[in-house]
Amino acid sequence: MKMKALTPLGGLLCLALAACGGSSAPASSAAAPASAAAKPSTAAASASAKPAASGAASAKPAASGAAAASGAASSSGPIKIGWVSSLTGALAPAGKPMDNGFKMYLAEVSNKAGGRDIQVITEDEASNPKDGLDKVKKLVEQDKVDILAGLILTPSTYASIDYIEKQAPRKVLLVGTNAGANDMDTTKKSDYFVRTAFSNAQANYPMGDYVFNTLKISKVYDTYSDFAAGPEKVETFAAGFKKAGGTIVGTEKPPFPSTDFAAFLTKIKASDAQATYNFEPGNDGVQFTKQYAQFIDKNKIKYLGAGDNVDESNLPAEGTSAVGAITSLHYYSTLDNPENKKFVDSYKSKFGGEVPGSFAVQGYDGARLIVDALNKTNGNADPKALMGAMLGAKWNSPRGPVSISPEFHDIVQNIYVAETQNQNGKPVNVVTKTFEQVQPYIAS
């Protein structure tokens, strides 16, 4: 009687594991190892931006003619933007606010740019690289979109850039709004990819010097979720920290996703570290932070790390367990500037009082960059013309002044250090330090 039951059970385990493998896919992505960093690049190439931009703009008529001749993307009627975000699955807490931010900006400009209407076709990446690439293909080949934007996962983004460069029936520009792999600025840089998110090194390398010289901490225990972004973020911190004179006394790499961190935390507690530097996104960050507060006294071993761990999407669940964390990121909702005040107010009123985090502002800025570029090209969505209009673009974002580096096709932005404080029983990230205009690429 039980015999026949055993056979399907084995198959079921495989089935369930396969399903799980899909949702935890970032773990399997081959991450380029973090390049050893030496000093932040000071090669701000904003001077070279203007000629490039105006040059491309003047080439506009020819470019649009070519697009029309190839008969692919239309140059009249609405501009179609193919937008991909993870609206379901484990990464929906990041994908949903990114989607909200993107569409909020477009609504602010009444879905118009360069004298044309904008039509957004939304697809779900479903927290899974395969879905990400499939949706991008569908948008290009079936919907014939003029511009691509979004993607939460690094593997989806790599695959999509590769697809556009090598397979796509026509070239389309992709505006990346979340994937942060460092090599997208250099060896994987593309003429068809520009980023309004961050690079993994950007927020973490400057923390190395800050932790050693300002916080006066010399022994740090590193922890990170073991998938693409984890080593890139934390190892670039470690590179900066060691260069300043600090010592990494240990590194723990919990599998991603994990829910129970007790074994790791007990090890850290038994070490002689003065602080930990942590990166665990999503639910991993929530559980890590809560369990940290239960196992370890933050006054004895300080909680430092990437701001992702205490992002607005995590804070409500973390509650006061996050208090005392010192983190760095390119955006905190508490930033004091007029653009951010307007952004936070309008986001909250639009989305039921929800406070926007870094993902929302990345989507918002992605839409802004596209709209500004289309205004410059008078509605021409040819990838070369658009890229020309985007490189060197500058604007005041809710995250402070930003620009697109013509050298790296990536965003130059302020990096903030924040301490999570208890304000009337609620955790609030209070900005304590600003690194001005940090380049995305940290030279090795």
Binding site: P8, P93, K253, F264, Q287, A317, E318
Partner: protein, 290 residues
């Protein structure tokens, strides 16, 4: 190389996690043992229980009330599913039941997202248990000690129910030979409903208990289902004793895997499962196949 205190705390970690996953698996193994149904919606019962518990705790701030209400709510859902859907499939091949519960699991994922949204949530531990307690000179999270207590109490309760009550003897007889039990004039249909509802309620209870430690997030249902399936397979299909020792074995192996060989901790639980199945193909406490 490790101090006694360090090892002691790691054993506590392992036992705590082991009892937690025993709770996750208990309902699954109970339903399978009695009904021969592999309930792939088990993780969904766990998830819905956790979210109902979350709503209760955030409104009433009473963890213990949530611990009672969530199993009742989910038990009621289980009753509707058993009487309305599953019952029709008992005479069909097992794959039909599997497909039904798998489909229900997909629906549950979307329904939960629709009601509670995609954000990560967490249940606050009961009042007075969010700090630490001194255990033999070691500061240890109080709620984790409570989980160990709850796990042991429920294990004893289930053992008592199964070994020392009439209902328990009917269930044990049903596991051995369903036809004979119904031949003795016992309403097997009613027993099936009862076991399914109880299994669902147990899943919901474990969802509330695990909430403060493992959290509430998109995908928690499939993660939980996999862990529960591993525990059940390691312990032996259909036995509560097996789920108990299987849970403890996996919990301790997972914890010490993270301590000693962190690089392999991800698949260590699977390695344990493979070894157990090679040595004892029916699991630690599974009956040998004739």
């Amino acid at each position: 190389m490790f101090s006694f205190d360090f090892l002691f705390v790691q054993v506590l970690n392992g036992v705590g996690y082991g009892l937690l996953i025993f709770l996750l698996a208990a309902g699954l193994t109970l339903i399978f043992g009695m009904m021969d149904v592999i309930n792939l919606a088990h993780g969904s019962f766990y998830m819905v229980g956790a979210y109902v518990g979350f709503s209760m705790v955030s409104r009433t701030h009473n963890f213990w009330l949530a611990l009672v209400v969530a199993p009742i709510v989910v038990g009621a859902v289980g009753l509707v599913i058993e009487t309305g859907l599953l019952r029709r499939l008992y005479r069909r091949v097992q794959l039909d039941q599997v497909i039904l519960t798998f489909g229900l699991a997909y629906m549950a994922t979307d329904i939960v997202k629709w009601i509670w949204g995609p954000d990560v949530r967490s249940i606050d531990p009961p009042a007075g248990m969010d700090g630490g307690t001194d255990v033999l000179g070691n500061f240890y999270p109080t709620y984790r000690l409570a989980v160990i207590g709850i796990g042991i109490v429920i294990a004893l309760l289930l053992w008592f129910l199964q070994r020392r009550t009439r209902i328990g003897s009917i269930i044990r007889a049903g596991v051995a030979d369903k036809e004979m039990v119904s031949g003795l004039g016992i309403n097997v249909g009613l027993v099936f409903s009862g076991v399914f509802v109880f299994g669902a309620a147990l899943a919901a209870l474990s969802g509330v208990v695990a909430g403060p430690i493992l959290g509430l997030y998109q995908g928690m249902d499939s993660d939980t289902l996999i862990i529960a399936l591993i525990v059940v397979v390691v312990g032996g299909l259909g036995t509560l004793t097996g789920a108990f020792w299987g849970g403890l074995l996996i919990g301790i192996a997972d914890t010490f895997g993270k301590v000693l060989i962190p690089e392999f901790s991800l698949f260590l639980t699977f390695a344990v499962m493979v070894v157990v199945l090679l040595v004892r193909p029916t699991g630690l406490f599974g009956r040998r196949l004739a």
